[in-house]
């Protein structure tokens, strides 16, 4: 069993008297890719926001360091499902990436080291050519990739991706798969992917957590992704579809 990076103990989230998560207890293994799956409204994004400390929760969330449970969050990279922002803002991709890392105000120019780091992250995700483009003029897929570059430029210990493949075009999907394969090979980044696209899950995840307000099932991908479990989480019309020999398989369509 791999070392644990994040441990959730009886985590519940209630918003306006509606329970979004109920007594979630689970562990996320360190240095592995964990997929968080479940139908719409299952509380996947809520769980991510609770881990980030953005949404108040009951229960405990621990981050494990050298076997010790700590409540202080390590550096986390986060890619939200959708970024609502003012699209008319004159902010370039490079501005966007240096915003969080650089203390010197951007109106005094970039710090060389921060600029280099941002460019390196953009290069790693294959979007360096977008550096002078305004973020409001990016397509959905381009913005997702820029967000991913922003997340990894923080050199996080944990990377939380909320529906990373949503809105990504074919070439973007290939680049995303390459990135996942590299993360998997290097093995020092703990990654949690929220997805209802089971192709991403079956292609890369080593650990799977099925969520529907509470944990339905969890464990290694082959054991968890059984037709019975999928049916229990998504309902009777869902199933796994595999096409070709690609690492990334085509999406599951649940009707």
């Amino acid at each position: 069993m791999a070392e644990t990076a994040i441990e959730l103990v009886n985590v519940s989230v209630t918003v306006n008297h509606a329970p979004l998560l109920k007594n979630v207890s689970t562990s996320i293994p360190k240095g592995r890719i964990t997929a968080l799956i479940g139908p719409n409204g299952a509380g996947k994004t809520t769980l991510i926001l609770a881990v980030l400390g953005i949404i108040p929760h009951e229960g405990e969330i621990f981050f494990l360091r050298d076997g010790r449970r700590e409540t202080t969050r390590p550096r986390i990279g986060y890619v939200p499902q959708r970024l609502d922002f003012d699209r008319g803002l004159p902010l370039t991709v490079l501005d966007f990436l240096t915003l969080s890392s650089q203390r010197r105000p951007l109106w005094l120019g970039y710090q060389q080291a921060k600029r280099d780091k941002a460019l390196e992250a953009l290069r790693e995700i294959g979007v360096e050519h977008l550096r002078e483009r305004q973020i409001g003029r990016l397509s959905g897929g381009e913005l997702q990739r820029v967000m991913l570059a922003m997340a990894i430029s923080r050199e996080p210990e944990i990377l939380l991706l909320d529906e990373p493949a949503a809105g990504v075009d074919i070439s973007g999907e290939a680049l995303f798969c390459e990135f996942m394969t590299r993360v998997q090979r290097e093995g020092h980044l703990t990654m949690v992917i929220v997805s209802h696209d089971l192709s991403v899950v079956t292609g890369h995840a080593e650990h799977v957590i099925c969520l529907n307000r509470t944990v339905q099932c969890q464990g290694g991908a082959p054991e968890v992704l059984t037709p019975e479990n999928i049916m229990a989480v998504y309902g009777p019309h869902a199933g796994l579809y595999r096409h070709g020999q690609d690492t990334c398989i085509h999406p599951l369509h649940h009707k």
Binding site: N16, L49, L52, G53, I54, R73, R75, I76, Y78, P80, L83, D84, F85, D86, G88, L89, P90, L91, T92, D95, F96, T98, L99, S100, Q102, R103, P105, L106, W107, L108, G109, Q134, R154
Partner: protein, 283 residues
């Protein structure tokens, strides 16, 4: 302080050998405008990028009640105006974290309540309305040296804060959850910015007036946005448009007898129109 101002006046006589800058009251007005217009622009960039124009309008109008309270309680109205403005800003910011109502609804409630309180006070003391009218339109030509010194101190403190937190404030304005995920203490920044905004707005009222102070905050940054391609350009263009509007407005008001606040905002609006046309041509 008098000797310091004497040196500044003599310096202005050398660099501004124009008829409009000859009198002492115009020199003081010039100094105040050189400080308050960029201050409003710097704060205004965040107001525009975070869609806080209505918030700023509510604070400027709350000044009306702050002044009325000062006059009623025989406390310096400039002081009660700033304190009341800060309290209203903090009240809105606190309410926002505790309520599911849309932000503009919360501001609308505060706006209505403070104005109603102001009118209630004035209606009981008829003599107050005349004093209040000078705050409605502002009067930079009667600004005192002490007020210029306070604006300068404010300018220095706010510039330091903005320089240290500009990038984080901008990220907070872009998307709060994203900023929180990057360990930015969003609530603290929101409260501090609300206080700064309230102080700048209420200080600016002396020069520009309650009715037009929000325009000085948003029009120069909005003009800058029309022609900027990145964050640096937006910042520097905002400053340039603010200074140009301020000084041109002051000179125009000297030669035409138009109220200074109004002429500044008219020049700023002209800048906006020109930059908007440029942005249309560029597309």
């Amino acid at each position: 302080m008098e000797s310091l101002f004497a040196i500044i006046y003599s310096f202005l006589d050398t660099v501004l050998p124009f008829a409009w800058a000859a009198s002492l009251f115009m020199k003081r007005a010039f100094l105040e405008i050189m400080l308050i217009t960029p201050l409003c622009a710097i704060v205004g960039i965040q107001v525009v990028n975070s869609r806080m124009a209505f918030f700023s309008d509510a604070i400027s109008h709350s000044a009306f009640t702050g002044i009325a309270l000062g006059l009623l309680l025989s406390i310096n109205p400039l002081l009660t105006m700033v304190v009341f403005g800060v309290l209203v800003a903090l009240g809105i910011a606190k309410f926002k974290t505790r309520s599911d109502l849309p932000m503009d609804t919360i501001i609308g409630v505060f706006f209505a309540a403070t104005i109603a309180l102001g009118i209630a006070i004035i209606s009981t003391r008829k003599g107050l309305s005349q004093t209040l009218s000078s705050f409605l339109f502002g009067d930079v030509l009667t600004i005192a040296e002490m007020e210029i010194a306070v604006t300068f101190a404010l300018f220095a403190v706010i510039l330091i804060f903005i320089a240290l937190s500009y990038n984080r404030l901008l990220l907070t304005g872009i998307n709060e959850p994203l900023a929180r995920s990057q360990d930015i203490p969003v609530n603290i920044y929101n409260y501090i910015f609300a206080i700064i905004l309230a102080v700048v707005v209420t200080m600016g009222i002396r020069a520009i007036g309650i009715l037009l102070i929000t325009a000085l905050l948003i029009v120069p940054p909005a003009s800058a946005r029309n022609v900027s391609r990145n964050v640096r350009q937006m910042f520097w263009y905002s400053l340039v448009f603010a200074w140009v509007s301020g000084i041109a407005g002051l000179v125009i008001s000297f030669y035409t007898d138009i109220a200074t606040g109004a002429s500044i905002i008219l020049v700023a609006s002209l800048c906006f129109l020109l930059t908007f046309i440029i942005s249309l041509v560029r597309r």
